[in-house]
């Protein structure tokens, strides 16, 4: 047996400071989302994206010049991953629906730099589709939260359910807020990542809640806060190992997954960090704040059968 000996902490004694910290983050996120908004990707806004690959590194100014000569004034060009890859965005307008658009752009680029450019992908999304997607995304986040709320309420108790959902919303808001604050492209894969963060944060919260429930039933001495601290401490090795391995994987995705996965893995990196933090300082602290008592979990239920075994 080589278990790491971890010092025991009174995590929840710091909960007021943590709440202030969380409040600052949430307010910053919300303000940024309200004022700056999100840098929504093509999936949500509609428009055309063209990715091209040059044989040698290319200067963006030259690309822009070539395009403006051909009459494409509203094209946004940016590096995509390497200096040889360029991403062109064309906002939705009547011309964008033109089936010849990508051909015209390629012609313009080819004239400026013959035999240098390879078309990697063209994506066109109609404005209507983008709007529908944004609506659907909002709905899907709402519905998964409701589903989770019900499940946790059934398995635990309503205070835990509310605590879990507050923690989850906390994490999702911070991830979305970070994307707004730094104006990072928010596309469909980032949305998927936000939903994954919801799942991850919940899994983490549920693991600690499970232990709190068990200890409420098992440990006869101690205040609510002491038992919660004990539970957090008992699950700490697991928290470190799991958060560590997941962190390892998403960091790998960030560095080796290519530019298409950058947004996705970045959202997950932020989500893993705050998902772990929120389990203790948002979920558990909310349960305390909602006034949970030991009696709330002592009702006989199916779970006690599993717990009763040696």
């Amino acid at each position: 047996m080589r278990a790491i000996k971890l010092p025991q902490f009174n995590f929840l004694s710091q909960r007021r400071k943590a709440m202030a910290f969380s409040a600052v983050l949430i307010v910053t996120s919300l303000l940024s989302i309200l004022i700056q908004g999100l840098n929504l990707g093509l999936d949500f806004t509609g428009g055309t994206v063209i990715e091209v690959n040059y044989k040698t590194a290319v200067d963006l100014a030259e690309v822009r010049k070539a395009l403006s000569i051909a009459g494409f004034e509203n094209v946004m060009a940016q590096q995509f991953g390497t200096p040889r890859d360029v991403l062109l965005r064309i906002p939705p307008n009547g011309e964008a629906n033109d089936r010849e658009l990508s051909k015209q752009v390629m012609n313009a680029l080819n004239t400026a730099a013959p035999n240098q450019v390879e078309l990697r992908r063209v994506e066109f999304v109609g404005p209507q589709v983008g709007k529908e997607l944004a609506d659907q995304s909002g709905l899907s986040v709402l519905f998964s939260l409701i589903g989770i709320l019900i499940y946790v309420a059934l398995r635990f108790e309503w205070r835990f359910s509310v605590g879990a959902v507050i923690a989850t919303m906390h994490d999702a808001t911070i991830v979305v807020g970070a994307f707004s604050l730094f104006q990072i492209d928010f596309d469909l894969t980032v949305l998927a990542a936000v939903l994954t963060v919801i799942g991850y944060s919940l899994n983490d919260t549920v693991v600690v809640f499970d232990r709190i429930r068990e200890n409420f039933r098992k440990v006869r001495r101690g205040t609510v806060i002491e038992i919660m601290d004990q539970s957090v401490n008992e699950t700490m090795t697991r928290t470190i190992i799991t958060a560590g391995t997941v962190f390892l994987v998403v960091v790998t995705l960030y560095f080796f997954g290519g530019p298409t996965l950058h947004g996705f893995s970045l959202a997950l990196i932020i989500g893993v960090v705050f998902g772990t933090y929120s389990t203790i300082y948002v979920a558990s602290a909310s349960v305390v704040a909602l006034g949970v008592s030991r009696a709330d979990l002592l009702r006989p239920s199916k779970e006690t059968v599993t717990d009763g075994r040696p």
Binding site: F124, G126, T245, V249
Partner: protein, 618 residues
């Protein structure tokens, strides 16, 4: 203690073996290939193989292998994508009259594997390149068309029954008939109700006018919309098949959308032309009695309609259509024997042929016109917003005198070029679209980007997994190795189930896989940490093993179920990439529960169960 009964071990073993078998085909590399099918009237035989090989040898393109396949197909494998493209060019140059070619990816599976029906996972367009198009079907237009048809039928009926009416028009989404007296109206409503149950009638009076307003019933509306969507899917499928692309996928998405996915395809312009084309032909008699000059001035005879020929010359045609495009069963293009101009040869179905024979018998010596109808969509900017308008273009492409009655087979000339004849024949063959369509989303992924995505996706999965495997082995020793075996089994099971369901692996799908692997590791960490705690609390090693699994069980279930809820919501609301992510996540969560709990338990039982242990190497 800590022994699984034999049946449980066997069950777990057989699940693992079946998964391994199902996932096996994924180990074979997928070669760039060309799939060849024969054109009409040609069959593919062993001789075709020799012919194709000769053509490729002539162009000195290395071929990996040429195989005859079931269903009269020929599969040619190449070592690289550039060979594949050059190969297609070479084949098209020499053999294009008799064969269609299509680019595809094909795994070089041994015969027994194909015999068992084993296939590798489908790779999504983001991993192999291709075109993804989402099409919006204008169902309101389908309703309007249905009303127009009803209007025509009603006119004929009222005329046949000799019921006098003042006007009969379509006003938005209902029909309005005006009569002079209540008796005519009652007779008309009665006649109509005998004919169809699709219309609801509301009557009203306006002064001395007696009005009947006819609406489509909600059930009829739904039926028309469903039919229009299904018909459009069928038509689009026929058109895409005619383009000669391997493994196209055409599926309904929601109420009014159709998703078309064409792996390997690279020319969205050509695709859109063929998909969006709504060209069809109509055959009408020429009105020889009415005055064309009057019609141009605005006085068109009631039973006729003014058309223009391609050179701009006006012509009056009878309103009644002899045959429409949807009665055409087959069409091919060629050249007219006598004049040498581009021609479309047309075959009619039974009903169309009967009508054509009746009309041509009655009207020998009179001229008949062919109308070419095309919906052209143009986009204009109105108040800064793009507004799409679909304009119906109707042109008379040929007028010819009926020399003798004809029936199901005839030819139509007057097309501008052989290319137009070819496209018109293709469109006539695949049927007309039941409602106008609009492309609302389009993604083209180049093959090199697809390859990069595969490489990067695989790299990140391998590196991430490698790091986790190393850590687990180092930290938990034997138990860590067992967890690693469970992890690998989990990966194999995901691949197996994806293959079994025919689901498609996409880039977000790979990300979903990575995430479930994380969950799987978490489950084993939970179990092992529990064991350590039990040991610390003074339990015996065997009791600790059992308690570790039992106590971690509810936690693992709770964690997996909550994530599963999120995944299911994603699956039901998401489309495309999000759906791909959700599918692998759902499959991964299910298999992770099995591998992390049952597989590790079985292995631990086999290794330690029933033995006297002083310590537990966890």
């Amino acid at each position: 203690m800590n022994r699984y009964p034999l049946w449980k071990n066997l069950l777990i073993l057989s699940v693992i073996l079946i998964s391994l078998l199902l996932a096996w085909p994924n180990l074979y590399s997928q070669d760039p290939s060309i799939e060849m099918t024969a054109t009409r009237g040609v069959t593919i035989t062993a001789a075709s193989v020799t012919e194709v090989r000769a053509a490729l040898d002539n162009a000195s393109i290395p071929v990996k292998d040429i195989k005859l396949r079931d269903g009269g197909k020929l599969l040619i494998r190449f070592a690289s994508a550039s060979d594949q493209l050059r190969g297609q060019e070479a084949i098209e140059q020499t053999l294009s009259t008799r064969y269609h070619t299509a680019l595809t990816l094909s795994a070089d599976l041994p015969r027994w594997m194909t015999a068992l029906g084993l296939k590798p996972m489908n790779l999504g367009l983001d991993l192999r390149g291709g075109i993804h198009v989402v099409i919006d079907v204008d169902l309101d237009a389908a309703l309007e068309q249905a009303l127009e048809r009803n209007l025509g039928d009603m006119r004929t009926q009222l005329r046949d029954k000799k019921i006098r009416y003042l006007t009969l028009t379509r006003d938005g989404n209902h029909l309005v008939a005006k009569f002079n007296d209540a008796e005519s109206r009652a007779a008309a409503v009665k006649a109509l109700q005998r004919e169809t149950q699709d219309m609801q009638v509301e009557t009203s009076e306006d002064g001395d006018r007696f009005i009947a307003q006819l609406n489509l019933t909600p059930a009829a509306q739904r039926q028309i919309k469903d039919f229009a969507l299904e018909q459009n899917i069928t038509t689009l499928r026929n058109r895409v098949n005619a383009l000669g692309i391997a493994e196209p996928s055409i599926a309904r998405q929601g109420e009014r959308r159709i998703v078309v996915q064409l792996p390997g395809a690279q020319d969205p312009g050509r695709l859109k032309e063929i998909l969006g084309a709504t060209a069809t032909l109509e055959y009408r008699l020429v009105d020889t009695e009415g005055s064309v000059a009057d019609a141009v001035a605005g006085k068109v005879p009631v039973a006729s309609k003014l058309y223009y020929e391609r050179d701009g010359k006006p012509i009056l045609l009878k309103r009644r259509v002899i045959v429409t495009g949807d009665q055409i069963t087959d069409a091919s293009s060629g050249f007219d024997n006598q004049s040498g101009t581009p021609t479309v040869f047309v075959n009619l179905d039974g009903q169309g042929a009967r009508r054509m024979r009746d009309m041509t018998t009655e009207n020998v010596g009179k001229p008949m016109a062919v109308v070419f109808i095309e919906n052209r969509t143009t986009t204009a900017m109105v108040d800064g917003k793009p507004v799409k308008t679909t304009r119906k273009v109707e042109e008379v492409i040929s007028v010819a005198t009926i020399r003798e009655p004809f029936g199901s087979r005839f030819q139509t000339t007057g097309l501008e070029s052989s290319a137009e004849a070819h496209d018109t024949a293709l469109l006539l063959r695949s049927g007309a679209l039941a409602a106008p369509i609009q492309i609302v989303e389009e993604r083209t992924i180049g093959p090199s980007l697809g390859q990069d995505n595969i490489d990067q996706g695989l790299h990140s999965v391998i590196i991430g997994m490698g790091a986790v495997v190393l850590f687990m082995g180092f930290y938990y020793r034997v138990f860590g190795l067992i967890a690693n075996v469970a992890l690998v089994v989990n990966l194999v099971m995901i691949a197996a189930v994806l293959g079994l369901l025919g689901a498609t692996l996409t880039m977000p799908g790979i990300a979903g896989m990575v995430l479930t692997l994380g969950m799987s590791v978490d489950a084993n960490v939970l179990i092992f940490e529990r064991m350590r705690e039990e040991i610390k609390n003074g339990s015996s090693p065997q009791a600790s093993i059992a308690a570790g699994f039992d106590k971690a069980f509810s936690t693992i279930v709770d964690g997996h179920v909550t994530t599963l809820i999120a995944a299911i919501v994603l699956f039901s609301f998401g489309t495309g990439p999000v759906k791909g992510f959700a599918v692998t996540l759902i499959i991964g969560l299910a298999s992770s529960m099995f591998t992390a709990i049952n597989c590790s338990r079985a292995l631990i039982n086999l290794a330690y169960g029933g033995k006297r242990l002083k310590t537990l190497p966890v």
